[in-house]
């Protein structure tokens, strides 16, 4: 009944279930992708997760991303003047400037160092592409970023079916909104629609942890929405079993003055490091960049190739 009301209703209506207590068992930043990951339990990748008679690796085992995922999105400052100067330098494998290089750049009087104000934010979205069913790798080439419309992206972590179904439904709602109101839907509204849709099914076994990323008239937008009913706005999220490793890399490398390429490289590196250590993440790194004109697919790179790229210089 809830689904039919979602499909038929003109406006997203949500039924408020008063019996359910709101448990914020998961801390912000810790992955809580619904059932299977108990709050406070840090060993997400060790727990099996499925409904009903489980613990058997059999044909009934459903394919899910739940513990085989690393998805990552962060807002970044895009300093275009630094990007210009990067073109002059040779492509570097390392993402960090050495302090001497930076000084050299600043001393060049010919190119003015202009700091572009806040509205030049963009959002970098990086995901892996592995799907697992228990210990079996179901696929190495899954698309975990769904293109809702030319300026909105959604990432997928959790149950494969749940994510793709609900995000496609969200795409439908967004399009209807656009037609009715003659203007694009905002990222806040799109994420709210999704959150309200899945909240009607809270407790019924949906497993979905998604990030809605986009650009609207308020600038860049990044929201984390999951099947528990969480909807959080933020500057940086990593979701999935490999999220801890990704957080480590991004947190140490994130700066205010990253250029587009540097930010992309940071995202790529973060996902690579996550796939290196997490058994349930792997495949390719898909990278998207969301800017004022919409989103662009930056790159798709195989993790093995990245491995050679990053490990070679060390030998």
């Amino acid at each position: 009944m809830a689904l039919s009301s979602v499909l038929q209703s003109e406006s997203a209506d949500f039924s408020f279930n008063n019996d359910r207590s709101f448990s914020f068992g998961c801390r912000f930043g810790q992955t809580n992708l619904g059932f299977g990951a108990a709050p406070g339990d840090r060993l997400n990748f060790a727990i099996k997760a499925s409904l009903g008679p489980d613990d058997k690796d059999g044909p009934e085992r459903k394919i899910e991303f739940l513990h085989g995922t690393t998805t990552l999105a962060f807002k970044c400052w895009i300093n275009f003047s630094v990007a210009e100067r990067n073109h002059q330098r040779t492509a570097s494998k390392a993402t960090n400037f050495s302090s001497q290089e930076q000084l050299a750049l600043l001393n060049q009087p010919a190119i003015p160092f202009v700091i572009i104000p806040q509205f030049q934010h963009g959002v970098i979205v990086a995901v892996d592409s592995r799907a697992t069913a228990g210990a079996y790798i179901a696929s190495q080439t899954v698309k975990k970023v769904i293109e809702i419309n030319p300026y909105l992206l959604g990432t997928m972590a959790g149950g494969a079916a749940d994510c793709s179904f609900w995000e496609r439904l969200l795409a439908r709602q967004c399009r209807v909104y656009e037609l009715r109101n003659k203007e694009r839907i905002s990222v806040a509204a799109a994420s709210k629609l999704l959150a309200n849709m899945v909240y009607q099914y809270k407790g019924m076994g949906l497993s979905m942890g998604t990030m809605v990323c986009g650009w609207d008239k308020r600038g860049p937008g990044l929201y984390y929405v999951d099947s528990e009913g969480n909807r959080v706005c933020g500057d940086l999220f990593a979701v999935g079993s490999g999220s801890m490793y990704a957080y480590g890399v991004v947190d140490s490398g994130l700066r205010q003055d990253l250029s587009v390429e540097e930010a992309c490289e940071l995202g790529r590196r973060a996902i690579y490091q996550a796939t290196y250590r997490d058994a349930y993440s792997g495949g390719q790194v898909n990278l998207y960049h969301v800017h004022s004109e919409g989103w662009t697919r930056v790159s798709q790179e195989d993790v093995l190739k990245l491995h050679h790229q990053y490990q070679e210089p060390k030998k």
Binding site: S11, A12, N181, I185, S186, A188, A189, K192, L193, N196
Partner: protein
Amino acid sequence: MSIYDRAITVFSPDGHLFQVEYAQEAVKKGSTAVGIRGKDIVVLGVEKKSVAKLQEERTVRKICALDEHVCMAFAGLTADARIVINRARVECQSHRLTVEDPVTVEYITRHIATLKQRYTQSNGRRPFGISALIVGFDYDGTPRLYQTDPSGTYHAWKANAIGRSAKTVREFLEKNYTDEAIATDNEAIKLAIKALLEVVQSGGKNIDLAVIRRNQPLKLLESKEIETLVAEIEKEKEDEVEKKKQKKST
């Protein structure tokens, strides 16, 4: 013809929905309301019906706020208007909750019009007997004025009037709504008063006025302010008459 006007859901052979048209007649019996869209201000003026001696004046207001930045005036059945206004107010807040943005004037007008249309196409209900003038500012600062009627249609207007003698007022507005006439906020307010004075009997006492300025909430003008403005208008009229006399004599 009369056999086709009982049920709302029945068309007449020549394509009329009589109940809807009768509802529009009910609107024409209501007291006049006028709306004007200025550059930085939107004005709503209504004719106040004279109250009985013992009645408290402030119980029934014909101008109601739907949200901070939108308000409406109506003409027709007051009870019907109360229902429509309640639904519109709830929808304004629902929109803020689900979309995290205030409603645009067009959105809430469309919602009210859809509500009215639903009542022209269901069993056992009659149409709402009101026309509404909905004014406000959008999120981006554009002023808007919309009018809805019992059939569920809505249109945007620069200036409009509904209710008794709406035709007279509209003709006045068509003649006098110019860019100079709405150049300043004060001028726009005076234009609304002038339009109402055409049809209202005894001057400033029977006029209720409300304005919304950009980024400011609805403001209902007090009777003293209205009296002052009416006096200004009367003086301007007299000055004009004198000027014409002088021209003729010279």
